[in-house]
């Protein structure tokens, strides 16, 4: 690389930081206004608040039932992503190892339908899963967390199978054969030998699915009607609709909504960025 002269690198540095601060500006505005009273917001949206009291936070968390929403989001995301990983890793491995017309056909079914937008299936999907109700067992796919998880798995599989399949094609078969000779059955071979080797792509699959499932609003808005089942995006939506006039309360609610994401990001940013990179290279 050519040595840049000093003024160019200072200029680049300045541009980079100005862009960075601009990126953060809305977050800053949201944060400072979550502490301000109504009058203060009316006169000054930019400055620091007169006092940092958490009264709006307490009210917002209470009104949006935050702890319940957080628990619901966590439950739904973790189980959905766990099952997406298990199912898509198993399926992709078998599809790679089978290598016949049927396995190609199944792969094509998973990957070829990636372009179907959610809007094209949502109306019949709700109608169809509604038919699965078994009132005597209190079983219903609509307005239950397991129903939502079932749908997340369905929608998450295409991309996950695609990523796993691409990765597994590059994994040598020798170790598996050795394990089989040692007396492992297929199930043991997969979990003890193959699955650990897939860790890098498992991270990617997990992160890419987390990015959309955690933030998804549309699917919960269609399937969940009970307030007690709401996930964070859904409870934020209803909360915001009710409190748009009280901006301070609304801002406190938004800050609370994104805190879990920020905390997670602080710990996992290296993996998140790696995961997105790995997902894109395919």
């Amino acid at each position: 690389m050519k040595r840049r002269n000093k003024s160019t690198s200072i200029l680049l540095e300045v541009i980079a930081w100005v862009s960075g601060l601009l990126m953060l500006l809305p977050m800053y505005i949201m944060f400072v206004n979550s502490f301000k009273g109504r009058a203060e917001i009316f006169t000054d949206t930019f400055g620091l608040p007169e006092s940092f009291s958490f009264e709006y936070y307490a009210a917002a968390m209470d009104k949006m039932n935050f702890l319940s929403a957080f628990k619901n989001s966590l439950l739904v995301s973790v189980i959905s992503i766990g099952l997406i990983i298990i199912f898509s890793a198993m399926t992709s491995w078998m599809l790679v190892r089978m290598k016949n017309k049927l396995s190609n056909g199944i792969l094509l079914l998973f990957v070829g339908t990636m372009l179907i937008p959610f809007q094209s299936v949502m109306i019949p999907l709700m109608q169809y899963l509604n038919k699965w109700d078994i009132p005597s067992l209190n079983f219903s796919m609509i307005n239950t967390h397991y129903g939502l998880i079932f749908m997340y798995i369905g929608f998450g599989l295409s991309m996950s199978v695609f990523l796993y399949h691409g990765f597994i094609k590059g994994v040598p078969i020798a170790l598996e054969e050795a394990a089989m000779i040692e007396g492992c059955n297929t199930w043991q071979t997969f979990w003890k030998v193959v699955f650990p080797m897939l860790t890098p792509i498992t991270m990617t699959v997990g992160i890419l699915n987390l990015l959309w499932i955690w933030n998804d609003y549309l699917l919960p808005s269609l399937t969940l009607t009970s307030p007690a089942l709401r996930t964070i995006p859904l409870s934020t939506f209803f909360f915001f609709g009710e409190f748009t006039i009280q901006w301070n309360l609304a801002m406190a609610g938004l800050v609370v909504s994104i805190i879990p994401v920020i905390i997670f990001y602080l710990f996992a940013q290296k993996y998140i960025i790696k995961g997105v990179m790995a997902g894109a290279v395919k």
């Binding site: 094209s120 933030n215 998140i272």
Partner: protein, 292 residues
Amino acid sequence: MKKSVKRNLIAAAFIVPSLFIFINVVIIPFVMGIVYSFTDWDGFKFAGSNFVGFDNYVRVFQDSDFLTSFGLTFKYAVCMIILVNVIGLSLAMLVTSKIKSRNLLRSIYFLPNLIGGLILGFIWKFVFTKFFVQVGEVMGNSSIFFNWLDDPTASFWALVFVGTWQMAGYVMIIYIAAIQGVSDEVLEAADMDGAGGWMRFRKIMFPLIMPAFTISLFLTLSNAFKQYDTNISLTNGGPYGTTELVAMNIFKTAFSMNQYALAQSKAIIFFLVILVVTVTQVVISKKREVEQ
């Protein structure tokens, strides 16, 4: 048990669970959707609905709101493609240059992606309606700082702005991966041959990171077409339905106006358009890729 039967059973155990869920969540509803779009289904009992041929499709093309939404979505997609990729690539160039704290900046640029479209839209709603208005007052009738969400044209740009703000960091990551894949030797060779900064970018870097363009354009395009969350939280279609993107139009046709069969026909057309546009885009960009 015969060996081959056993092998098939084992294979099925690995594949059937995924396949079962996938078929029930995606394939069956998709096929049902195609069937519904040719009937006068009212959203409740399908039995008793009549086959109406292409009637719904004819109605879709007479629905001026839908056509407006589609036009708006195209415009939105084009603006997003240009802005997201220009800004994403620029940010990628910045954080792969030798500036300090490039890792921290990378994390900051990517941050909006984690927050999600719905919540981002709400945050920006406050910024536009309160912060922008106050800055405008301080600056005295500014042409930039006013409540964008009150004005149909500015509202559209608000959607583009927030969408870009969210997605630029994502495609930046993709471009970083591509830029890091370009070997230093090639760039040094270009230097030796006397290529300047711009020349080096255009003739060496640009062709070599073409695969990243294919992916980034594809992602931006399909995301822009499917945009719903930010549309709901930022403008909710307003003012006066002037910023209703196509995903929102389909949703409203079904769940607010209860015209399920019509909405389903719109959804099928929506799918076909996404299919044609994205496949065309990928084919065109693939042709321009070169081997390193």
